[in-house]
Amino acid sequence: MSAPATRMVAVAGIEEPTDEVRTLRLVSATGEPLSPFAPGSNIEVHCGERRNAYSLIGDPRDTSHYAISVLRVAGGAGGSRFLHDDVRRGDLLTISPPKSAFAPPAAARHHLLIAAGIGVTPFLSYARAFARTGASYELHYVHRARQDPHAGLLGLPMQAVRRYVGRESLAASLPEVLDGARMGTHLSVCGPPAMIDETLTLARDRGWPAHRLHSERFVGVDAPPGEPFTARLARSGQTIDVPTGVSLLDAVLSAGIDLPHLCRQGVCGECKVGVLGGTPLHHDLHLSASQRAAGDAVMACVSRCDGDGLELDL
């Protein structure tokens, strides 16, 4: 999809439930209401030059504010330090719209949620959505001994939450939890990569089918804008520069050449252009594998060039 517009939010509240975790309450800074979101969604927060993705922890239908929990990562690239040390109440931040990357499986009859540390954040919005739909769930949450449990857990029904102190404690109980799951249960796990791998491996070993296993993985921030290249138009004799971040389609249109187009997503096939020379870098969904291999056409709206230039039948 095209890059969605960013928006400005104001920091309306800050809580520090533990030494390492800061929870920010964000409200619209423009008056335009925030959008509802799918449970498990994240937003990207612009932290200076960087963009960090954080799970939204509030009620998905509550558009009065967003809430995120930020773990201080001492050795990280600085995004979390910025949100911990530099951001004050009333400050403005730029965010991207919520992106659904880890939505709960709607068809599950029961949700078995397993979280370690800050990995609990996507499940906080799950729990609020489940409270509305009446979906059945249980949350197994492990945290370190010296760390208090996440403040966001407060207010969740206690019978649905089981807490563990220390990874060994969860590991000891996990086989029993996995074996005892009732028919129709889906497992969702979020935490450090090693913990996710261990949990999924254990579940597979105990006979869980792959389509009932879900794990959080943050998606890439942006599709890469691509390398610059040159398009030589064989029929008109023109040479067009296609810079980074500009599509071949837009470059051609800007040069005053009328190229039919519709979806701008590489799907509809309207902007197909014949390739006479050079190697296309295909990003579309329209061409078949054999058409791609032939290399004699590109979708100008999304595809680029693997090399310096393309010669086009235009």
């Binding site: 969605p4 719209p97 979806c263």
Partner: protein, 341 residues
């Protein structure tokens, strides 16, 4: 716009000036003809597409027709249990789209989970609580069908595919919701000719699975329907099927309708379901003829359509009558052509 159509658009009714005429060229083939929505598209008679939910002169009649159809056959509205959140999403999205399109007659107020909806066209003011079905007179999806003319399909995304797991479809053009419910996107498009060889359906499914709530899309589809019959579902085939065999040349102008489906494609924000609106608009050939560019274009498309596609659209038996009728009318309207003949 030509001077002729400018003059026409001053006098033509909105059902013609806002008709979503579906043919961009003189031949029709299946493509994934999606484009961002809303987006105004000019036609020879006016234009359409600037709103997602369209309210037209058939509003009350079509809602009454839907109520009658549902009373006779409740299976036209199905929400599988895991799609309840999606149905509520569909209600909220659709009422907002309605209010955005027609602020003169509709107002939506949301306060947390409490919703107030006022629809002057129905003299309705109702308050309900999102997630609490007891606060609506019907289940959410069926109730939504009492407010908008669009048919609604809700697709769940799981295991790398989309699944038709809920729908309110009273105006199906030769298909059946209760037959297709629970099928995957690729399965329920199985009968469509040609698209599979071209790989269109997997690409369309990939596209839909990447939709985000920030941007809706739309596409059009079309067929011909005899009489202004909204319900040409498979279930009713015994009622409407024989019309195609009994049609006469003299009846084409009044009885044969160009039926355009505007399909909006929306990623619902909270449930993550993909919503398809299917909005069917019909124009009798007599009125297609009032826009000469449309009549010529429709004649070309219907005449050129390959036989397998005509057969799938259910028009193979009588399309020659439509072409013949349009030829006669177009000749009558064009003195030069008439003289040459």
């Amino acid at each position: 716009m030509t001077p002729t159509t400018e003059r026409l658009s001053g006098t033509l009714p909105a059902r013609i000036t806002r008709y979503p005429f579906p043919f961009p060229r003189d031949a029709y083939r299946y493509t994934a003809n999606v484009q961002p929505a809303p987006n105004f598209e000019a036609t020879a008679a006016g234009g359409w597409g600037d709103v997602v939910v369209e309210v037209d002169e058939h509003y009350l009649a079509e809602l009454e027709e839907r109520e009658r159809i549902l009373e006779a056959d409740p299976d036209r509205s199905i929400t599988l249990p895991h799609m309840k959140a999606a149905a509520w999403d569909a209600v909220l999205y659709s009422l907002q789209a309605f209010a955005d399109a027609r602020p003169d007659v509709a107002r939506l107020t949301i306060d947390g989970d409490r919703v107030r909806w006022e629809n002057d066209l129905l003299e309705l003011a109702i308050e309900f609580v999102v997630g609490d079905e007891s606060t609506l007179p019907l289940d959410p999806l069926t109730w939504l069908g009492t407010q908008i003319q669009e048919d609604v399909c809700l697709l769940d995304q799981r295991d790398g595919h989309l699944w038709l797991d809920a729908g309110l479809v009273t105006f199906a053009a030769d298909w059946s919701l209760v037959f297709d419910i629970g099928m995957s996107f690729l399965e329920f498009h199985g009968p469509v000719p040609r698209v599979h060889e071209a790989g269109i359906m997997p690409a369309a499914e990939q596209f839909l699975m990447r939709l985000t709530p920030e941007q809706a899309y739309r596409r059009t589809n079309w067929t011909l329907t005899i009489d202004r019959r909204m319900d040409v579902s498979t279930e009713q085939y015994d009622v409407w099927g024989k019309d195609r065999r009994l049609l006469t040349l003299e009846e084409v102008g009044e009885r044969v309708h160009l039926r355009c489906e505007v399909q909006h494609l929306v990623r619902l924000p909270v449930s993550g379901a993909v919503m398809f609106y299917i909005r069917s608009s019909m124009l009798p050939m007599n009125e297609v003829l009032l826009v000469p560019e449309w009549a010529q274009r429709a004649r070309a498309v219907i005449a050129e359509l390959p036989e397998d596609m005509a057969d799938y659209k259910g028009i193979a038996r009588y399309r020659h009558l439509v072409v013949q009728w349009l030829d006669e009318q177009l000749d009558d309207a064009d003195p030069a052509a008439a003289a040459a003949a």
